[in-house]
Symmetry: C2
Subunit: 472 residues, 2 copies
Amino acid sequence: MITYDISKRGKRSKYEYLYRCIREDIRMGTLPGGYRLPSKRVLAEHLRVSVSTVEHAYDLLVSEGYMQARPGSGFFVCTNRDQGVLERSAETAADREPEHTLDINANRCSLKLFPVDIWVRIMRRTLSERNPVLFEAVPFNGLLVLREAIAGYLYESKGMRVSPDCIVVGAGTEYLYGRLLRLFGSRAMLAIGEICPKKLVRASQNYGAQWDYIPMDEEGFQIDYLEGSPASVVHVSPANQFPIGTVMSQQRRDELLGWAHAKPRRFIIEDDYDSELRYAERALPPLFTQDDSACVIYMNTFSKTLVPSLRISYMVLPEALMDLYREQVGFYSCSVSSFEQCALAEFIAGGYLERHINRLRRYHGHQRDVMLAALEASPLMEIGSIDSVDVGTHLLLRVSTTLSDREIGEAAAKRGMRLDTLADYSVRHTVETAHYVVVNFASVEEEQIPTVVDLLVDIFSDDIRRQRKKRL
Amino acid sequence: MITYDISKRGKRSKYEYLYRCIREDIRMGTLPGGYRLPSKRVLAEHLRVSVSTVEHAYDLLVSEGYMQARPGSGFFVCTNRDQGVLERSAETAADREPEHTLDINANRCSLKLFPVDIWVRIMRRTLSERNPVLFEAVPFNGLLVLREAIAGYLYESKGMRVSPDCIVVGAGTEYLYGRLLRLFGSRAMLAIGEICPKKLVRASQNYGAQWDYIPMDEEGFQIDYLEGSPASVVHVSPANQFPIGTVMSQQRRDELLGWAHAKPRRFIIEDDYDSELRYAERALPPLFTQDDSACVIYMNTFSKTLVPSLRISYMVLPEALMDLYREQVGFYSCSVSSFEQCALAEFIAGGYLERHINRLRRYHGHQRDVMLAALEASPLMEIGSIDSVDVGTHLLLRVSTTLSDREIGEAAAKRGMRLDTLADYSVRHTVETAHYVVVNFASVEEEQIPTVVDLLVDIFSDDIRRQRKKRL
């Protein structure tokens, strides 16, 4: 029978350790497709753990597509083909399902506003003049011209005073996160909101990071929970907690900074993603500018504000942390093409970025208005309401439905539309997050909006019918 | 006194564990600059380890610049400033010492041959026509058009039959290495030649990889040593073991493949870096094409063959490993700009890459001839000889000198020249590797070559004088 030494689990919980052992054996083919696993009770006795430990591990493996429960006959390792099917329906869906005609999930943005002519002109000048910067070795944290341009932009648009020496440019936020995590050591624990970009959590778990999840209310993070957490690093987006759009109140910001200052080696990662696309009143200044003890790390990306095709993100580190970064991971080469770094530097310095962001904001603001109006005029309002998210490129549609979140996604897919619900971003499935549909207005054309709303109405038609009957 | 629980070292050796603990405390400031460490004997007694364990750990910390031995008074933690100085003279030298007028270290390449006009034309067309590919989500392993172009190129130039589905495109070899290491698990051990790209080893150690070092002779890796190693993954460059240029013999290749086939889950990473720049007879086909059991992973980069400003590398995985890759790390976004992926795809498919490589080869071949002739006509031949490396962009100058490798580097720096010796690439410092100077001919202009040779003569003038006296 399969045997694992549970005492070797280290700090992991028993079920998680068991789950990992079995998963590893399935991945490596030690447990082949079709293999029948021992019953929960038998394995529990064999390993001297509780039945619920085994149950929890099996549940995870089934939900992730490694195992299959065949009622009446037990648990079996999925064959590669089964796994493939499950894979396809899970995280790689975006890569493999080009057949979706509509994709309103929350992470895409239109290329069509990108000022191609300006970009090509800048690129041509950079290359034709063989800008001397291109001949230099690229520093690990990016070309100085680009870091200077970013520092200037941060000062003008957000009032941040930043030395170009403390900026690190990298190929995407995930990449920078990977580097950053090295500094906190493998034992460090990070905290993030319960509703969060799960992909970021997964990506950094792959680097060995451990996460704790903090409940949120309408003012943002509940700091008293944070006080009780073993975490020493916190990931927040005070301007716009993705994807629910919560703006952190000034009081919470003060509390959060107080938490960070209370003990040495506590840090706050301020992810300012999407903050440029704000439709309501002016945002509070970044937490970074409110911090006088050098414990805030500021992160942002050009993938959202410029064009997703460019993989350029950046972070600003407090000076002491920058020294550590240079020492520990400064030997890694910069991961961004210096052609594009040069071009982007000129794009920013020439004021084109600011103009482009204004244009994006107007465009998305209009799309948002049209989407809002279409939703509000639809029968969806009989079973739901709209949570206004004042930042970014999506709205939240709250619906009262008998469908599960999973069924909502499947019903959408059947109609050729890719759709996320808030459950896709939540680590704990509570009633609260149960039936929020993420309605992205950035990746559909204006003329497609009525179609999107019609499809949504169709998905929830049973609920609407039921609601109407009830009223009669 | 500093106290660490040596029993918590896991699989590490005692000295390595102790070294890591102290290093961590120095990095985090727990042991501040100037702090005086206990004597070796006292600490050994305190921790109940042997004096040589402490000695080994202290030696490493001193050699890495974390500690300083002050004769007669003991060991001290370096202040940040001391550390900074050491850092500067070590790996970040390239970033921080732009004052060098000549830089003949082994890892740069000229931008001036890059066909700017063609690149800009392709870029303009890609962007202006708003190539539909740019609107699609980029698959984790890169745009299909680029992977198809790479597959075509590999077939025509190296006879490799490769499915575009098994290619992964990423922002540099280090980046791809980081992803790849996830697949082998944190317990996996890798083997590499004793003389190797140390930066790669350091980068992957940061991901938790453990390395074993295999002695090499003129046929390449000594496979019998590999048989005795616990490693299950081997990094080799059969066409050109960087930086010594050894070409692996067919017999060794067969033995290496035999080693890989002998047990399941053994893999060979074939790093084909620089193989396009070959000046002697035709190379053997890549190991990848000689493998019929899907255990070779092929890696290469465009940074050397195209232009270093572009951060685009790729690898080809065996199908089964590709499935695992997709599943385990396929959720990471592709790290390369899709503008540049599109442009590169057209650059390759249009035959421009091949033409550019031919041009590079002619240019570097000429530089190499000029450098060789200048060295051979110089007094350096009285104390040394040239090891002809038939691949890449450097030669090896073997010198008989009283200077240590470190002194050679310092003497060069004093004369405004950055210079590597083979010791910079060797993990074990033996007599064998002691006095080889790496003479790069790619990052100097032809007219600078006499200056480089004059400076080398100047550095070794004492040795030359001594040798002449001896002869008289």
